[in-house]
């Protein structure tokens, strides 16, 4: 069972990789949406009922370059759809990998960093499919998403892999399930949230007329306003779950270690992430703070989550460090 799980992970990575290539083809072929923007209603261009502001800014340069009409546009559309279905396939394999791993271990598959990363990425991918289903116009973000998936999964398989082992007594508690599942869920959503956040930062720069390197990547991304809105929606969704997870962790720590909060490195970084994400929500609710500043805060929040996941397990030792690699 555990070998099957390992194989499924490999296949999932391959599927994400092919999906990524397909997205890249869609991206390279161009410009199905920007090209048709002048005829199609603005709503279709930007999705989610966002006003047409994004499309309007794009056109002068883009339209000149992309005037070549439908042939490649149709191909791009096909490539994009294929990419989306490949992502579905990859996520299904990914799910299979997590489930078989859990069966092999005879417990929830969240006992160490490898399993943690495996599950967080699965949540991210699944949430992405939900977003995609609701707002198909955001499909091109899939390029970034599949890239993140391939990188994280490959890293997990190469660097974090450990054999299936049972849990230590300290982890045997229903609070383990509650705390870890919610942390994983929130992390998965935050992980997905960083994709539109980064895309927004690029795209907003592009829409403000920046034509230098990183911004040119954003030429064919969906309009900035929609990306920003998605970024916020994902973070607003994940934040209370994360908050709950931290509280559940404190309740569990009280039972297991005799103190609800002891500032061990993992707890300290959870606190930091929480404060930074609260800062993001505040910044976004404050009209005088520009949206790209707020979005940067969300990106920093994600970096602190990464620090907590990788940095703390590798660099520091604390009570939590048995969740790490060895």
């Amino acid at each position: 069972m555990s070998a099957l799980s390992d194989q499924l992970v490999t296949f999932a990575i391959l599927a994400y990789l092919v999906a990524m290539i397909s997205h890249a083809v869609e991206y390279a072929l161009g410009n199905v949406r920007a090209g048709s923007a002048r005829t199609a209603p603005a709503r279709e261009l930007v999705g989610a009922g966002v006003g047409g502001s994004g499309g309007a800014v794009e056109t002068p340069v883009a339209a000149a370059v992309e005037a070549r009409p439908s042939r490649s546009a149709a191909r791009a559309l096909i490539a994009g759809r294929v990419a989306a279905w490949l992502t579905v396939l990859a996520a299904a394999l990914h799910l299979g990998a997590v489930v078989t791993r859990g069966i092999a271990a005879g417990r929830m598959p969240w006992g160490n960093m490898y399993e943690f990363v495996l599950t967080v990425t699965l949540i991210g991918a699944a949430a992405w499919l939900v977003v995609l289903w609701k707002q198909p116009s955001l499909r091109r973000l899939g390029l970034f998403l599949t890239l993140v998936m391939v990188l994280l999964l490959a890293f997990a398989e190469l660097k974090l892999y450990v054999e299936v082992v049972p849990l230590m007594p300290a982890l045997r508690s229903y609070w383990f399930i509650i705390h870890v599942s919610t942390i994983i869920f929130a992390s998965g959503i935050f992980l997905l949230g960083v994709v539109p956040a980064a895309a927004y930062l690029l795209r907003a720069g592009w829409e403000q007329g920046r034509r230098s390197f990183p911004y040119t990547l954003a030429r064919r991304l969906p309009a900035a306003a929609g990306l920003e809105r998605l970024t916020f929606a994902l973070h607003a969704f994940a934040f209370p779950i994360f908050t709950f997870a931290v509280i559940a962790g404190a309740i569990w720590a009280e039972a297991a270690w005799g103190r609800a909060w002891g500032w061990d490195p993992k707890e300290t970084w959870a606190f930091i992430s929480w404060v930074v994400y609260a800062g993001y929500l505040h910044a976004r609710a404050t009209p005088s703070i520009r949206r790209n500043v707020a979005t940067w805060i969300a990106v920093v929040g994600f970096l602190t989550m990464l620090m907590n996941l990788f940095g703390v397990n590798f660099f520091f030792t604390g009570l939590h460090s048995y969740a790490g690699v060895n």
């Binding site: 989610a48 007594p169 045997r172």
Partner: protein
């Protein structure tokens, strides 16, 4: 706290009137600055940044041994860092300053907002703007029957809007939960902080090792702890007088050596004099009324019987500490400071004290080297000891560790090594002077933390309300709608048909508002038994 603004400054005698007292102006401006959202944001960030050294540098509250190690490794840097509080970041002046400022800012922001919100809750929804067609949502519908504002209001009330009717106008508002939730969230943050404060003032805790057996029972006094800390409002005399005896400790291991279950059974002599038996484990602490007992670790204390050269026997049951490897290799010391007292004279011989220093292996390998245990359970227990004789240095008044020999005594030659040996269970070792050491057996011990944390209940409740408030704040949406009912153009009131104009204003970002508005309009038009809305649009 706008009250500061309202308070008239008493003008100093002779000073021109209406000049604002500069101190007061400064205070007022500082207060405004402090309670602004921007400042709160900056403070939030400072808080996050200030927490980082707490995870990078060892902290006294978390791991004092590592702090000592840091002092050894960085003799120049460490004292300076220490002065600045870097080994106790979360209690340091600067960290406290940041969060106290933040919470002052928070309170300064909650108070006026609560006042405004309560006011808003008491007020009726505001009157309709003159031109409803300027609002983000607008619709006009024709209702065949004479529409009644009261009927419109009834539809809205059924959908849990707050409604008020002014003449032919209906105003309604919904989503007060957003602000309520937001305030609840921020108040809960303050309550959590209060809980923390309560806990640190009135809480106490102590850690110690508890070896199995009635002779090793412990009672809850400060001296009985290896390490204890009492909050500033707690006195040693306040500790509730209960006692614990470890009757049994069970540990199950998987074939790989990984532990799968721990269970400690203790006899509790309660504060009220009653006695009971109780079990506890990792993840399920022993909850005595006045304190909780947590199982943090476990190990074995070898029972070593030393018979000195005069034939007098003493037994040591000293807990050996885990070295940290998977298979429970332990190290420790069994000291016999009263060895070799001449029974005739009764004179102590401080240079004839004896101690054994070494390892305990629950599962010793069959063949040498005997340096590490092969399994954490006791399958082939053995001690590997080095014997010392001389002055243990215990009388010098310098507190030493009971788990280590005093290295200075060894270095100065006052304590000398006289041999080493591996002893299996029941084996006896005869030393050069004819005295013997026998490895009789072991007793399990547990490491416990005893803790009284009074703020915890408050914190738990506050965390609950914090979450509720957070969800209200994030997911509720404040919005207003207005309906204006007028007789249809051309038709007279008696002809029955009337025109209803509707407008809607989302007061917070709300993508679903258009749909909700359309449904509302449809419901009202159904209610007026109209065929369909005459004109409906989102612009």
């Amino acid at each position: 706290m706008t009250t500061v603004d309202d308070r008239p400054a008493a003008p100093p005698a002779g000073a021109p009137r209406r000049r604002v007292n500069p101190v007061l102006a400064l205070l007022r401006n500082s207060w405004r600055q402090l309670t602004s959202m921007r400042t709160a944001l900056i403070l939030l960030f400072l808080l996050a940044v200030a927490a980082i050294p707490g995870s990078v540098l060892p902290q006294r509250g978390v791991n004092p041994e590592k702090v000592n190690q840091y002092f050894i490794d960085h003799p120049d840097l460490a004292p300076r860092l220490d002065q600045l509080g870097f080994f106790g970041v979360f209690g340091s002046v600067w960290f406290s300053a940041i969060y106290l400022l933040l919470f002052t800012s928070l309170v300064g922001c909650i108070l006026p907002r609560t006042r405004d919100h309560v006011r808003a809750l008491r007020m009726r929804p505001p009157a309709a703007p003159k031109r409803l067609d300027r609002l983000p949502q607008h619709a006009v519908l024709e209702v065949p029957a004479a529409a009644d504002p009261a009927a419109v209001a009834a539809v809205l009330r059924r959908r849990r809007w707050r409604v008020t009717v002014r003449g032919n106008e209906v105003s309604a508002e919904k989503g007060y939960l957003k602000e309520t939730g937001n305030l609840l969230f921020h108040v809960s943050l303050v309550a959590v902080l209060l809980g923390v404060a309560l806990g640190s003032w009135y809480g106490w805790h102590g850690n110690r090792i508890l070896v199995a057996g009635a002779d090793n029972a412990f009672c809850n006094t400060r001296q009985q702890y290896a390490e204890a800390s009492l909050g500033p409002r707690v006195d040693s005399a306040d500790l509730p007088p209960f006692c614990l005896t470890l009757d049994r400790f069970e540990a199950d291991y998987l074939a790989s050596g990984q532990a799968s279950r721990y269970w400690a059974t203790v006899t509790v002599d309660e504060t009220d004099g009653s006695t009971r038996t109780a079990g506890f484990s990792v993840n399920s602490p022993l909850r005595l009324g006045p304190a909780n007992v947590y199982l943090l670790g476990n190990g074995y204390a070898p029972v070593l019987r030393y018979t000195d050269r005069y034939g007098r026997t003493q037994t040591s049951v000293a807990p050996f500490l885990r070295t940290g490897d998977q298979n429970a290799t332990e190290e420790g010391v069994a000291a016999f400071p009263d060895a070799n007292v001449d029974p005739k004279t009764g004179a102590r011989a401080p240079d004839q004290q004896v101690a054994f220093d070494g390892l305990y292996l629950p599962t010793a390998p069959e063949t040498a080297p005997f340096v590490a245990s092969q399994f954490p359970a006791e399958r082939n227990p053995a001690v590997v000891l080095v014997a010392y004789r001389g002055n243990l240095g215990l009388d010098a008044g310098i507190p030493g560790s009971v788990y280590q020999l005093d290295q200075r005594q060894i270095d100065s030659g006052k304590l000398t090594q006289i041999g080493d040996k591996k002893l299996g269970l029941g084996e006896k070792w005869t030393l050069d002077d004819g005295s013997t050491l026998e490895f009789v057996g072991t007793k399990p011990y547990i490491t416990i933390s005893v803790r009284h944390a009074p703020g915890q209940a408050l914190m738990l409740v506050a965390c609950g309300t914090l979450l509720l408030g957070l969800m209200g704040s994030l997911f509720a949406r404040r919005r207003r709608v207005w309906f204006r009912v007028s007789p249809s153009e051309g038709g007279s009131p008696t002809s029955g048909s009337s025109l209803v104009e509707a407008g809607g204003l989302p007061r917070t970002d709300h993508p679903g508002f258009a749909d909700e508005f359309a449904q509302l309009v449809a419901a009202i038009s159904d209610d007026g038994r109209a065929d369909r809305p005459a004109r409906e649009g989102a612009e």
